[in-house]
C-alpha cells in the first residue's frame, strides 16, 4: 500500500505520537496486511455471487433470488454455514499436514497479491523480480493441494491431488513462458514498470502494441491461467459431474472454506496479472480524442484496475460455463503438443519483432 517515495499521512501521524519512530514501519506492515486481506477476503463473496449469477444467466435461469435483494445475502449465509460447521480430520490422517495444507494453499495468493500494482501508489512492494516471485509463490498452492490429498488418508483424494498436481505443473510451464514473453518485450520483471511501459493510450497496451502477436499471447495466457486456476474446462482435479471432489474430498468446514477462498483469490490474482501484463494495469484506455481522454483520465486508476479485473473474471466465468471438459490425456496432449510449442514460437517471434522492427 505504501510507496516509499511519498510522505504518508498515517505514517507521519504515527511518527508524531509514538515515542519510537521505528513503530511507523510496523504500522505500515500491519496496514498492508489488513489491506491485502480486505481486498482478498472481501472480493471472494462477491465473486461467488457473481459466479452464480453469470452461470444462471448463461443457463437461462435466475440464480439466487430469495435472500436479500436478488439473493445478495445468499453468499454470506453460505459462508456462515461453512464457518459454524465442526472441523474434523478423517481417522488415520496426518493431522498436522492435513491442517497445514489449506493454509499453504491460502498463503500463496496472498503473497502474490502483494506484487500487484492496484494504482500508481497502491502497491505493497515493488520488487524488481516481481514476475519470477509470482511464478515461484504460485507453486505453494500446488504444494498445498498435493499434501492435502496426501494427508487425507484416502486413496481417491491422493489420486485427485496427483491429477491436479500433474496438470498444474504442466500448465505452469506455459504460464511462466507467457510471462517471460511480457518480461522480454517490456524489458522489466517489475509489475509496476511493466504497467508503466504501457502508458500512452489504448493501443500501447501489450495486447495491441505488437500486432497480432500480443493478442495470441493474451489468448495463450488466458488458457494456461485457466488451467493453472484449476477451473473448468480444465478442472480435472474436481470434475463435479464425474468425481467427488478430488483433493479436498475429506475437508469440511473452515478448512474446506479456506481451499474455496484460495480458489477465488487465485482468480483475482490471475486476472490481476493478466490485466497488468496485457491490458495496461491501472492506466485508463486513452483513445487519442482530447474531449474523451480528459474525462477518462479523471477516473482514478484503481477503478480502471477493478473494472478490467472484473471483465477478466467475467471472461473466466463465461468460459467455465460454456466449454466442455477434456479428458486427462487430451489435457496433457493439448499442453505438450500444442500450447508449449506455440508459446515457444510466440517467444521467438517476439524476439525477432524486438530486434528487427522494434517499437
Amino acid at each position: 500500500m505504501m510507496h516509499t517515495s511519498i510522505t504518508h499521512p498515517i505514517g507521519d501521524f504515527v511518527r508524531s505520537i509514538s515515542p519510537f519512530p521505528e513503530l511507523a514501519f510496523g504500522v505500515n506492515l500491519l496496514l498492508s496486511i489488513i489491506a491485502i486481506c480486505a481486498v482478498a477476503i472481501g472480493t471472494a463473496p462477491i465473486l461467488i455471487y457473481m459466479e452464480r449469477k453469470v452461470c444462471a444467466a448463461i443457463q437461462c435461469r435466475l440464480g439466487p433470488m430469495r435472500l436479500g435483494y436478488r439473493g445478495t445475502l445468499q453468499t454470506i449465509a453460505d459462508v456462515l454455514k461453512l464457518l459454524f460447521k465442526e472441523v474434523y480430520a478423517p481417522a488415520g490422517a496426518d493431522k498436522f499436514i492435513f491442517y497445514l495444507a489449506p493454509m499453504l494453499s491460502l498463503t500463496a495468493p496472498f503473497l502474490a497479491l502483494t506484487m500487484i500494482p492496484f494504482d500508481y501508489n497502491l502497491q505493497v512492494v515493488n520488487l524488481s523480480i516481481g514476475i519470477p516471485f509470482i511464478i515461484a509463490v504460485n507453486a505453494f498452492g500446488i504444494l498445498g493441494m498435493l499434501i492435502g490429498g496426501w494427508a487425507s488418508n484416502n486413496k481417491y483424494s491422493l489420486l485427485g491431488s496427483l491429477r491436479s498436481g500433474a496438470q498444474m505443473i504442466s500448465y505452469e510451464i506455459s504460464f511462466a513462458l507467457i510471462l517471460v514473453f511480457i518480461v522480454m518485450v517490456s524489458g522489466s520483471a517489475s509489475l509496476m514498470e511493466i504497467t508503466q511501459s504501457q502508458s500512452g493510450g489504448l493501443f500501447q497496451w501489450w495486447i495491441f502494441k505488437i500486432p497480432g502477436l500480443g493478442f495470441i499471447a493474451f489468448i495463450l495466457f488466458f488458457i494456461s491461467s485457466t488451467a493453472e486456476l484449476n477451473r473448468a474446462p480444465f478442472d480435472i482435479a474436481e470434475a463435479e459431474q464425474e468425481l467427488t471432489g478430488g483433493y479436498h474430498t475429506e475437508y469440511n468446514g473452515t478448512a474446506f472454506a479456506m481451499f474455496y477462498l484460495a480458489e477465488y483469490i487465485n482468480i483475482v490474482l490471475a486476472s490481476s496479472i493478466g490485466v497488468t501484463c496485457f491490458l495496461g494495469g491501472y492506466l485508463p484506455p486513452l483513445l487519442g480524442i482530447e474531449s474523451v481522454d480528459s474525462l477518462l483520465i479523471k477516473i482514478p486508476g484503481f477503478i480502471w484496475f477493478a473494472a478490467k479485473v472484473l471483465f477478466m473474471i467475467w471472461a473466466y466465468m463465461v468460459v467455465r460455463w460454456t466449454f466442455v471438459r477434456p479428458r486427462v490425456d487430451q489435457l496433457m496432449a493439448f499442453e505438450w503438443k500444442f500450447l508449449l510449442p506455440l508459446n515457444l514460437l510466440v517467444l521467438i517471434l517476439g524476439a525477432l519483432y524486438i530486434s528487427f522492427i522494434g517499437f
Binding site: V54, A57, I58, Q59, C60, R61, L62, M65, V318, W321, T322, F323, K337, F338
Partner: protein, 160 residues
C-alpha cells in the same frame, strides 16, 4: 506405396493437426455465441418466480394436471359410460358408476376420480373414443384433508 507409408502417415498427422487447429477454435466460438446470446438476452430466462407471479403464471399447453370431464355451460358432457378409461387406468384411479335413463339405456351416473392415486399418465385421455376427458393445467393440489381428492367429475348424469 509401402515404402511411402511412414511419410504419408507423417503428412496425415500434421494435416490432421492443422485441421484441428482451425476447427477447434471455430467450434469453441460457436459455443460461446450460444452462451453469450443467452447471457445478454434477459428474455431467455425460463425460471418462474412461483408464489409471486401466481396471478400471471400460465402453464404450458401440454402440462398434465388433474383429469377433468369436458363440459359445456349447461354441464352437458360427451361421456357414454363405455368404461374404456376405467380399463385403461393402470392404478384404478377412475370408477364409472352407471345408471339407466328413462329409455332404459345405460348412461353415466357418476364419474369418480381419485386424484391421490392418479399419476397423470393421461392413458385415459388417449383411450377415450369420444374426446370427453382431458388433463387440465391445474397444479396446486395440496390439501390437509385427503377426502378432497375423491372427486366426482360430472355435474349431471349422462344423456347418451
Amino acid at each position: 506405396m509401402k515404402q511411402n507409408k511412414s511419410s504419408s502417415t507423417f503428412i496425415n498427422y500434421w494435416s490432421q493437426y492443422a485441421k484441428r487447429c482451425i476447427t477447434g477454435p471455430i467450434s469453441l466460438l460457436k459455443g460461446l455465441s450460444v452462451t453469450l446470446g443467452y447471457f445478454f438476452n434477459p428474455k431467455s430466462v425460463v425460471t418462474e418466480q412461483y408464489p409471486e407471479n401466481k396471478k400471471t403464471l400460465k402453464m404450458h399447453d401440454r402440462y398434465r394436471g388433474r383429469l377433468e370431464l369436458i363440459e359445456d355451460k349447461e354441464g352437458e358432457n360427451l361421456c357414454t359410460a363405455c368404461k374404456l378409461c376405467e380399463k385403461a387406468c393402470p392404478n384404478a384411479s377412475i370408477n364409472i358408476l352407471t345408471t339407466k335413463n328413462i329409455a332404459g339405456k345405460m348412461v353415466l351416473g357418476r364419474y369418480l376420480y381419485h386424484l391421490a392415486s392418479c399419476t397423470q399418465c393421461a392413458l385415459c385421455v388417449e383411450a377415450c373414443p369420444f374426446g370427453a376427458i382431458q388433463m387440465n393445467p391445474e397444479f396446486e393440489f395440496s390439501h390437509q384433508n385427503k377426502d378432497v381428492f375423491e372427486m366426482v367429475l360430472n355435474q349431471k348424469e349422462g344423456r347418451f
